[in-house]
Amino acid sequence: MKKILSLMIVLAVVFPSVLGAQRVHIDIEARGFKRMKVAMPAFAGPKELADSVWSQCAKDLEITGAFSLLDPKGYINPGPISFIEPGTLKDWALIGADYAVAARVERQGAQVNLAVQAVEVSTARAVLNTVYTTKADSVHRGVHAFMDALMQKALGLEPIFSSKIVAVQKVSKKKQLYTMWCDGTGGAAIKGGGDLVLNPAWSFDGKKIAFVSYWKNNPDLYILDVRTYKVELFSSHKGINVTPCFDPTGTRIAYTLSKDGDPEIYIAPLGGGTAPERLTRSWATDISPSISPDGRKLAFCSSRAGTPQIYVMDLVTKKVERLTFQGSYNSEPVFSPKGDMIAFIHLAEDRRFHIALIKTDGTRMKVLPGTGRGDESPTFSPDGRLVAFSSSDGNIYVTDFMGTSVVRVTDTGGFTEPCWSPLME
């Protein structure tokens, strides 16, 4: 066993491949979906390292929205253990565990091995029996690979953890861009964009971030190359140049300009060359465009009916239909990656701003509980199953569509306007 550990970068000894039967389809209507309960005793290995890896696993389990961690206080054997003994499965069954997870964390020179075993309690089948090897300073990447594998092998879900969130971070009086993995690990500030940056938006290939900066004393639009950190000025018309959104093909960008007197939505090719095409024509405020994954529709917020509401434009016929009729304030629409629904901000009956979801045909609007303290800036996970958002406490949260899982991703505060990237290599 030792020999195998030392030889392999990532070794996946997948025991008789599981499931299929338990493949879960989760969407806005899946009211009955129950999160799978996971028992995860303390990990074996050097205590400090093992505990910190365990904590990240516990957080990430909750972020998935598909699993929930059983309170370790109820475990018959709280660990640390590195292997689930078949004879102990009845103990885990007794506390209601659907899965039992054990792991050993080991240092090996400049590397760390995370050896994980996950067992389906009812069938005694090993869902996962894998060693993840990473550099010592990026153990979180091993946890990400573990979590994605667990979601895939246990429930047939698509991976999410190799994705990032870009947000705006406030530091003293300045605001700068900040990127992190979607569970808050590996965070890094992107400095040098001036005193005030806003509205970061990821391109659909994850290679570019469009954002607003007051670098030249006006809210202008810039595009950042994520690989080289080179920034290009994209739009600096008189008035606001804000709320960018890439189209899925990566060739166009929709955004808001007030150059013609009031905020209207425009679309322009990324390479420049031609003047932006004006899409909306109303005396009112039109803002916050989001292009559907098939590139055919544009959701936006408009106050043309007196209050901010969500509208959808057919980008071919330019026909506009109002989508939301409930409430006096609906704003910041974003299409889900599958294009079947739109998340937005809704002023709810409790007079707080909540994340809400609605089908693109205008039916089945659902208000998510969120933090209950005022939530903003929804953004979908790459698989479209989860929504990240910022709350009034300046932290970023991830919730599922049931609202049963609301997990805080950041700790320090100062964060606003998260935007979730597609999966990265």
Partner: protein, 184 residues
């Protein structure tokens, strides 16, 4: 030496008093006078004459200081808006009328109007709302005769609150337009 200084100081004070009382008298006449102003008054009655009084060093700096105070007042007098609104209240129009007369009196100065919002509502929508608040103020100044080239606008949305904290007391002060003098 010390005596000489005192004498000069006294003379300056006396001349200053004469100057001030003269001004006051002049002002009173203007306010009281139901009769049409004489031609002389029209000629000398341009606002804020900057008399360069001989031997009165205090007065030389008094004029720029007065100007500085006026500039400070211009920048400190803000206008305020209702929640999610960008129409001008009666108070706001009054403040803007004062700004217009100041700008008329100082044709070498330009102004930049900053539109701001309270923290409620979404950041993105508030960028637009801040823009529209600044635009309302800009439109009214232009309506009052100020050259459009002299009035620029910028929206800060909800990014630069004047008052921190939540609640109507803070919010009502944050839903505002501010006025920045730009030299030219």
């Amino acid at each position: 030496m010390r005596n000489a200084e005192r004498v000069v100081g006294l003379m300056a004070l006396v001349s200053l008093i004469f100057f001030i009382s003269g001004c006051a008298k002049h002002g009173v006449q203007q306010v009281e006078g139901p009769t049409p102003p004489s031609q002389e008054e029209v000629i000398t009655g341009t606002p804020d004459m900057e008399l360069d009084m001989p031997g009165s060093e205090g007065d030389v700096s008094a004029a720029p200081q007065a100007m500085e105070e006026e500039l400070a007042k211009f920048e400190q007098d803000r206008i305020y808006f209702e929640f999610d609104k960008f129409n001008l209240t009666a108070d706001a129009r009054k403040v803007l009328a004062e700004k217009a007369s100041f700008l008329n009196a100082h044709p070498n100065l330009n102004v930049r109007i900053e539109g701001h919002c309270d923290e409620r509502g979404t950041r993105e929508y508030n960028l637009a709302l801040g823009e529209r608040r600044a635009k309302s103020a800009q439109d009214y100044l232009i309506f009052l005769g100020i050259n459009p080239d002299r009035v620029s606008i910028i929206s800060y949305g909800e990014e630069k609150p004047l008052e921190l904290g939540s609640g109507e007391d803070a919010w009502k002060l944050n839903r505002r337009a501010e006025f920045r003098i730009l030299g030219n």
